[in-house]
């Protein structure tokens, strides 16, 4: 129970941080915002790695393996697309 309360604390505080940070994002960058949040939500890979990690083979390991692939697609894809977009918002101003 104590565990859950501690997690809940982190959760609620993080929502507040998110709320204020997202409102400060300039509307012009809303597309990169979506792709970068997509990339960082793939931090779920952490859970997948724990499933693939054990030496023992089983269903859990297979599912973890699939999750690692999916999350990796997102991590690489998400950050690269974001970088591509942000790159376009550069150069300007001759």
């Amino acid at each position: 129970m104590e565990h859950l309360l501690q997690e809940l604390t982190v959760f609620i505080l993080a929502i507040f941080v998110g709320y204020y940070i997202i409102w400060s994002v300039t509307p012009a960058l809303h597309s990169p915002l979506m792709s970068v949040t997509n990339a960082i939500s793939s931090v779920i890979i952490v859970g997948a790695l724990i499933a693939v990690g054990p030496a023992l083979f089983g269903i859990s390991k297979i599912m973890g393996f699939i999750a690692v692939i999916l999350a990796a697609v997102n991590i690489f894809g998400g950050f690269i697309v974001t970088q591509r977009m942000l790159q376009m918002f550069k150069k300007k101003k001759k």
């Binding site: 859950l4 994002v25 915002l33 949040t37 939500s41 779920i44 894809g77 950050f79």
Partner: protein
């Protein structure tokens, strides 16, 4: 004790993710932000790999390699106009990954420190069901959104009788299965609840039409965050909870901004059925009889080069025609001729938040020439020519004057205040909302019936003469 360093590493990585989002407050700091994001991810992955429970690395390396290659090649090849469907596709992967991790935790709870098979604490079971349910809804919902955006399936809302009733029944069924799962914790219940959630995700997106996709894509963005949160609670991992909450609130705020841009409640968007063929064809019949002034590229070129100020209003039609580059070229010529050219972007123009901004940036339009609704609206009165390219509803004055109109109350770009308005459009067809645009029939409006890209090319030729 050896566990503590990983908690610390996760904390650092969480802070980096916050900085990554903070960077997006301006284009100057945004790229540094992305570096923070990447660093945060690397720290999180390395810290996890060093955990004592990780003994075999072959599949991990293989998985990251496969995923990395796929992700990299997609991200490098994708056209910027296809961005909305790419994002939707990516969301579906996060959703499925969440389902997989929840399943893995269910089949091997001891690896995650949440008891043994058949003996998982109820709190963990609830968290697991939440993670899996939201993940599954994100997955199937995003697949449908992807299909609609990619044009694999029709963008029209798909509605049928008792749709909401069916959804409600499935929702109740889902909750009952979750309860049964918590009581019995068998594999069958886990998979039933996941499959039910898949079906629900599918059903809640099909009635939503194409132009409401900015809301849907942001909503699914939000869901993918909450799914990560659910998994974070299951694994007692603060990093997942923090990241999930950040992403969840980000998507929620974006959905809110999009809904406000259309003056529609989130609920009405989600219930769907807005717009579509029937209304459109009806509106078509009525409009055909009324006279409009139409012109060609040389008329448009003449008007614009003799104007002092021109405002460009792009919409989804520009994205479809891939006209952003020629548009920029056209504006460059105008600028050389001494015309003051700016761009006005409506919050819901296009198919995802910020869609038009990215396309204009791709065409090298300086971002300080691109203005939002509030920044530009009062300038229309002193503008000579407005060039609307592939947009419609977002300029329709009925939103202010006609309380009967489905778009009544939606904030619009008040282009009717300008001295003259040019509409580059393929036909007189009503916009997504199925409402005809009174502006088409005004004296100071000229319709340019053509593909957006062709029209810009022709105007460039005419300007050159």
């Amino acid at each position: 004790m050896e566990h503590n360093y990983s908690i610390l590493a996760y904390l650092i990585s969480g802070v980096f993710f916050i900085l990554a989002l903070r960077g997006l407050s301006s284009p100057e700091t945004a790229r540094r932000g992305n570096i923070y994001g990447i660093s945060g991810m690397v720290i999180a992955i390395v810290a996890t790999l060093l955990l004592p429970g990780i003994e075999s690395y072959v599949l991990i390396v293989l998985g990251i390699l496969i995923g990395g290659i796929i992700g990299t090649s997609i991200a490098l090849k994708i056209k910027m106009t296809a961005l909305p469907q790419l994002i939707a596709g990516f969301h579906s992967l996060v959703g499925l990954a969440a389902v997989m991790v929840a399943g893995a935790a269910f089949h091997n709870p001891s690896a995650y420190g949440i008891g043994d098979i058949g003996n998982i604490p109820v709190a963990s079971l609830i968290e697991m069901s939440l993670g899996s349910t939201i993940g599954a809804i994100t997955f199937s919902g995003s697949i449908i959104a992807f299909g609609k955006l990619q044009g694999i399936m029709s963008g029209n809302p798909i509605t049928f009788k008792f749709q909401h009733f069916l959804n409600a029944i499935l929702g109740i069924l889902l909750i009952s299965v979750v309860i049964l799962f918590c009581l019995n914790q068998t594999q069958n219940f886990f998979w039933s609840l996941t499959i039910l959630a898949f079906i629900i995700g599918f059903l809640i997106i099909i009635p939503i039409g194409g132009a409401d996709m900015p809301v849907v894509v942001s909503m699914l963005n939000s869901y993918s965050g909450w799914a990560a949160c659910g998994i974070g609670f299951t694994l007692s991992n603060n990093l997942l909870i923090i990241t999930g909450a950040l992403v969840g609130s980000s998507g929620a705020i974006l959905s809110y901004i999009m809904c406000k841009g259309m003056n529609r409640s989130f609920i009405s968007v989600i219930l769907g059925g807005f717009g579509g063929e029937d209304v459109t064809s009806q509106a078509n019949k009525e409009t055909e009889q009324r006279p409009v002034k139409s012109g060609d590229s040389s008329d448009a070129a003449f008007m614009m080069q003799n104007a002092e100020s021109v405002v460009i209003v792009p919409g989804y039609g520009m994205a479809v025609a891939q006209a952003q580059h020629v548009l920029k070229e056209m504006c460059d010529i105008l600028k050389k001729k001494g015309v003051n050219v700016r761009y006005a972007i409506h919050p819901v123009a296009g198919r995802m938040p910020g869609h038009m901004n990215v396309l204009l940036a791709e065409a090298n339009v300086p971002y300080d020439e691109v203005l939002g609704l509030d920044e530009i609206n009062r300038d229309f009165a002193s503008t000579d020519v407005v060039f609307v390219i592939g947009a419609n509803d977002i300029t329709n004055p009925a939103a202010k004057t006609d309380p009967q109109s489905p778009i009544y109350g939606m904030p619009i770009l008040e282009v009717e205040n300008a001295k003259s308005v040019l509409f580059s459009k393929r036909s007189l067809r009503a916009g997504y909302a199925g409402v005809e645009n009174e502006l088409f029939f005004r004296d100071n409006t000229m319709m340019l019936f053509s593909d957006a890209k062709e029209m810009c090319e022709n105007i460039i030729n005419a300007l050159g003469k």
